[in-house]
Symmetry: C2
Subunit: 348 residues, 2 copies
């Protein structure tokens, strides 16, 4: 089959590799129907040393079960499934409390001998715990619901996690930093959870326009001190109690500290591209700011979020603005890197 | 009157200065009945450059109202009062939500023209908002309740804040880092809030013994990796969901990251002696750790905590193991610095 590998910064290739096969009795084989490129895939696309081993790529996919191991109880050939970006057993103490990204026996796609989702098929470990069935017929491979269901693999659940970790609720004022797919779906999630004022910080008009449709009440295109001043003007002078950081770079962290209100929460879901950051008296401690967030246990949210997608009351799939074939994936990375596309849907 | 000033690291002096006087109609004058030296006073005691302006010292005191300004409505001469370590108007939006340390018109003792509590008297700004009356007669100046009431100025409320910010509740497993007065009162607070297992990390036996009396179920004297291993052994391998950090130095922060369970909370109340700290994928982000805490709005907690002190159901005043006169205060700093005393009560 064909699968995507990154050989170093800017170097993404499609290769022919052997088809995956069941290895453990708890495995399932999934034929990928749709996958996509993630904003977080751009981090290694910028920084990966050319000398490294090539990495399989992709951690978001939906598809059809082709085969299951002897111990898989809840899935069968032909089921349409959503794969969260982390695989998990569903039974350990962390899974039971809804933190599947810390599953004691789980892991992430595209490492430790597990393939990536930007491929024709994937061996899924711990399939009963990992995969969630969606009520689509096996032949529904061109369903208009596919983009929305695919966002449940990562970006919708990740935006939702940002909002949940910040305890966004009715009447809240929320700032969302970043107009990528996760930022926009953090807007949608905050809106869904009842936030009254949602200020989206971003400067790509097509994206922030979509953000407004998702529920943003204000857009602040300015960055740095200018952006902070603007947000403070919009929030009665003191910033917002809930700040959702969906970028991962240090300027976004600093922006978050600038716009958060004393006693407020910064909830990060952008994968941090830094190890250390200001947390002392002048930043977090003095004003009693809470810093929270992390990789979203999207598995915990799929059942809650899927009905809205199926009914069409929310349309998170609108973050996909371009569709390409798997063979075109090097161009997909390029287009996302140049911000010519917001998020690219991949058809194997 | 006599008041305490720090001239530089290790250089604390008692000086004669003019008696404070009412300046604003919202002021009260308070004659100090008891004050004390705080663990956080030791930070400048170690680091203050000798070239600086001398600083007035002390931010914890209880005393008797001697005079009030014309706009003070709730206090009168003779009232026995507790002064929180931050003064606040009690009416701004932050005070109303219980974050008096971020009061829009408030501030802290011993700066900006306001004296310190290690003195014979203090001018208290915004007295209606700041001071809390305690039901002691004016002549109760040797009451056995004084040490307990004085802990409401800072250390008890601060330990309680650590526990509240971590949402400590019934059945929880809690690690408290630090066996100073705040750490011990974080133990007491966690116990009060229903924690089931309370692991105190500290290595001064007299202190950890008091910690056990306050409710610690386990004491871990080891530090670094050894301490982390020990805590993990005591917590089923994965650490505690709630970690209260009552020290403020980087090794305590690192310890907190080592002993917190994925999805857990680190609640800091030790004033951080660092600006930057690890917050990236390997420390906070990957395991979805929440970092919270800050200077405690003790004003918000006094009414809740005072009844237990008055009734004797809790005895936070036991953190005072030595009493000295104001004139002896240079020796009090020395003794606390050398850990010859846990916390020293000062009698003017």
């Amino acid at each position: 089959m064909r699968a995507t590998f990154m050989y170093g910064a800017g170097d993404v290739r499609i290769e022919q590799i052997p088809d995956p096969a069941l290895q453990e009795p708890t495995d399932a084989l999934v034929r990928v129907v749709r996958s996509c490129v993630c904003g977080s895939d751009l981090h290694p696309y910028h920084t990966m040393p050319a000398s490294s081993e090539p990495s399989p790529m992709g951690h978001e996919f939906v598809g059809v079960v082709e085969d299951v191991g002897s111990q898989v109880a809840t899935l069968r050939r032909g089921d349409f499934v959503i794969a969260p970006f982390a695989w998990s057993d569903g039974t350990c103490e962390f899974c039971r409390q809804g933190l599947q990204t810390s599953c004691l026996h789980g892991g992430f796609w595209a490492r430790d001998g597990i393939g990536g989702g930007q491929a024709e098929a994937v061996r899924v470990p711990l399939a009963d715990g990992t995969l969630v069935k969606a009520p689509l017929a096996e032949d529904a491979e061109d369903s208009a619901l596919l983009p929305g269901l695919l966002t449940l693999s990562d970006v919708y659940g990740t935006g939702y996690h940002a909002a949940k970790r910040a305890h966004v609720g009715r009447g809240d004022t929320v700032v969302v930093i970043g107009d990528g797919a996760v930022g926009l779906l953090a807007v949608l999630s905050a809106h869904q959870l009842g936030a009254e004022q949602i200020i989206l910080m971003g400067r790509h008009k097509a994206r922030t326009d979509l953000g407004r449709e998702f529920g943003a009440t204000d857009v602040v295109a300015e960055r740095g001190q200018e952006g902070i001043t603007k947000v403070r003007e919009l929030t009665g002078g003191h910033g917002a109690a809930k700040v959702l950081e969906a970028v991962g770079h240090m300027p976004a962290y600093e922006q978050a500290i600038g716009v958060v209100r004393p006693g407020g929460v910064i909830s990060r879901v952008g994968v941090p591209q830094y190890d250390e950051a200001p947390v002392g008296f002048a930043s977090l401690f003095g004003p009693n700011i809470t810093l929270t967030g992390g990789p979203a246990p999207v598995r915990a949210y799929i059942e809650d979020l899927m009905p809205g997608v199926l009914e069409g009351t929310v349309q998170p799939g609108r973050v996909f603005d371009v569709t390409m074939d798997l063979d075109e994936i090097p161009g997909a990375y390029r287009a996302m890197d140049r911000r010519e596309a917001l998020k690219i849907l991949i058809r194997p």
